[in-house]
Symmetry: C2
Subunit: 535 residues, 2 copies
Amino acid sequence: MNGHSYDGKPEVQPVLIGGRWQPASLAGAFQAYNPASGERLLEVYPISSWEDLEKALSESSKIKLELARTSPEKIASFLRIYAELLEKNEEAITQMAHLETALPLKSRLKSTEFPRMLNQLRQAAAAVEERSWCQATIDTRLNIRAKYGPLGGAVVIFSPNNFPLAFNAVAGSDLASAVATGNPVICKAHPGHPGTTRLMAECLLQALEQSGMPASTVQMLYHFGNEDGFRLVSHPAVAAVAFTGSRAAGLRLKEVAERAGKLFYGELSSVNPVFFLPGILREKAAELALEHFSSCSLGCGQFCTKPGLVIFINDEPGRRFLWKLQQIFNQPLSGYLLSPAVLDNLKKAVEKLKAAGAVLLAGGHQIDAPGFQFQTTLFAITGEQFLKDPATFQQEAFGTLEVAVVVDDVEQMVRVAVSLEGNLTASIYYNPSDEDEEIYRRLEPAVRLKVGRLLNNKMPTGVAVTPAMHHGGPYPATGHPGFTSVGFPAAFLRFAARYCYDNLPEEHLPEELRSKNPNGRMWRLVDGTWTRSDI
Amino acid sequence: MNGHSYDGKPEVQPVLIGGRWQPASLAGAFQAYNPASGERLLEVYPISSWEDLEKALSESSKIKLELARTSPEKIASFLRIYAELLEKNEEAITQMAHLETALPLKSRLKSTEFPRMLNQLRQAAAAVEERSWCQATIDTRLNIRAKYGPLGGAVVIFSPNNFPLAFNAVAGSDLASAVATGNPVICKAHPGHPGTTRLMAECLLQALEQSGMPASTVQMLYHFGNEDGFRLVSHPAVAAVAFTGSRAAGLRLKEVAERAGKLFYGELSSVNPVFFLPGILREKAAELALEHFSSCSLGCGQFCTKPGLVIFINDEPGRRFLWKLQQIFNQPLSGYLLSPAVLDNLKKAVEKLKAAGAVLLAGGHQIDAPGFQFQTTLFAITGEQFLKDPATFQQEAFGTLEVAVVVDDVEQMVRVAVSLEGNLTASIYYNPSDEDEEIYRRLEPAVRLKVGRLLNNKMPTGVAVTPAMHHGGPYPATGHPGFTSVGFPAAFLRFAARYCYDNLPEEHLPEELRSKNPNGRMWRLVDGTWTRSDI
């Protein structure tokens, strides 16, 4: 498809509803950008009117009972076939993602994000098949048994701009989790990479067909208006919403969804503070400045886990570290922001920080060149400034933007930690053979309560896909600090209800709760003991 | 204390803030009722002004770091000492509860609810000490480890009117769960049984002191205005709210709390439908009518799990069942409603059902006698009536009030199931040696998605305290179908955040995530295997 029909008028791409690509009911249309040129791409995508959303909701409702009873083996098979089809189309998908996001093709899309996406789908498949995720809990004496199961309504996924592959609504961790738990899914593509999403959704539809899953299991719309979005997330056919994006948009959706009794999982914002204790800065300030900058500038500073706040003491090693940071941030670095909106938001953040009295040590301006480019930017403030107005100095902005908080002493550092909002991560760099150990013990308890993932001597930007990962955190990082969006099977639980069975005969129980372990591999908590044995 | 000072003016009871009983900052005062006489009791209790709430919040904030690091052994010791002190004061507490609620002293308060309360506190203590609740998940290869930990803010508990002991804010499952997970707690007593709460809170304070817990771990206020309640649940020092009570009040609190980013766990309403399939009615309609009535009238129909909706087919066994139900409901039964508000709500429910066209088969009127008494009341409607206006016919009302939905056939029965709102429970009564089995298989999938606990041939009113219990359900039964308020350790998870540790040295990890199993009994998921061994 090239976006133009034979008579020269641009065709609008169809949407995926009810298991087939069909013409959208149009409220409007849009084109994505090429962030490297700043120009619009040719392909035209639909902004759906409510009619499309209603059709998708109706299709979801029709299949929810069937999906709830679909076997784990079939769901796993779908996820594996999907991964395989994506893999076959790697070249086209990554080229399109590169075009639409300007993220580096080799170092990022091909070597990191694409394999991560496949790995996620395959890990989810394995977890579905193992079945342990449902936490079968059996009281044999009372014959009361519980496990997690589907929500009984659709999951709506809003995907972010910054990971066109691994967090794409149609192929990311949210999708895998919502399907794994037997829920119908309605995906809203991100308008920054509709072409990438289209190519992936084509594989998805094939995978649904080949695996014999209900064809409406996953549906996809490119875009719709805010009001329709609110109507969607509060609709009776919807059970949960997964949103990754801006805090302002997320909070509006959260309010509407929750008021209607829906579960809302939002990844909303995080500045991922990094604390450098004096001992480790004394040892290697220059090396750490470089390490920090590399993490901060990864993906042009457009990671949810970008370290945007760095805190250290105003002593000789601290000043040396800041000096080094300043030098590095002042070196030109190429890279593109994802959209005019990201650029605009970054400009506003810079103006806000300036207005609040932060000192600009590097960058601060748009780069006068094609595409969406901005200088790598470093601000400095004192601990006192931070403590006077903590909200202003911990606002997330995509882009290589960093605020250095130079504190007077350990006591002030701890107070800064206490003033933090909820974050996805925090890192503490320390030197184990130094007085740092004592500072660590004062600082850690305050930091711990504010974040989902705590790191030692490590930057936060790598988010490994392991059962022990937690990608989440206290509000406003997310809406519920007990749930993670990365790492299986924990990520599944966002889209699961607890099902209890009281006094049921063996033949009415789901397989996971019967005497025989359904596959011999599933872990079950039987009378207080985790076991893979039959009862 | 007798409620009157020496000069004859009534004394207002003090509140428990900051580890001591102190005079309340008064916005007003109230007295509880004796539901058996309908008269006010003498003791006067405070309605706190915002000043008290603010003090309590400030005390909670002061100790949250200390509490987060308090050992499981100390928390368990507190829960056990507390149970012991309550046990020593059984006579006084149950007498007071009887006076304030008119619930039967022997058959209910002493023999059922009091032991249940002690059992819950002791089960929670054992679960805290075992530590398995925190679901330690360890990836040894990547050195990424996760577990659940405290929320980092206060938990506010609003307790219901119907269980003065086992669900009392100061001693129920919510209290045990919130303390177990290391959170400070602010309790709002129910104004229906302030004296009972006071006696229990006196034991609680002693238990805090004897176990060496921070004295402000649990604080208690008797009452405050709605606006102050909204301010409380949206305060920065609060992390979560547990509410058990009326749907209208709960939804208002939910909206305010969630808008401020707080977790809200509400047990809001449930009519607990019971389906009787034709085969089992053919076998024993009379016996089942009695069994059903006993469950419906338990505690004078004031259970969250009261079966308020009964569904069966309009065939000969069904008509015999209804006839029998009608006879039983028309026999006089003594029992008291908890308050004028419950009585009032019941009257309104009866009027609403009448207005909607339900046929009154029994009762329907207040009993002209001392105290809050109402006739046992039975309505009947057709399946068609239900399907036309499902919302009206599934509104919870405390009291022995039942709506019988007489459906045409199995198909209509399934449609009724599909039209149900979220409920805590549903029961299906069936005869295994009959055509019921086939009907069961058509009905069950629809019912399953609407409820937390599904029962077979069993009434829903018994809620066993076991790890496999689920006392929760889809909205509007509760706000999140993944969490239970009864059954440890699952109930703990409502008040827990997920903590991840990435690249931490052994000595910085919490005990639960170190190489050595901290007590040799804790279950941990190490590289995909649940084990009690060291790593």
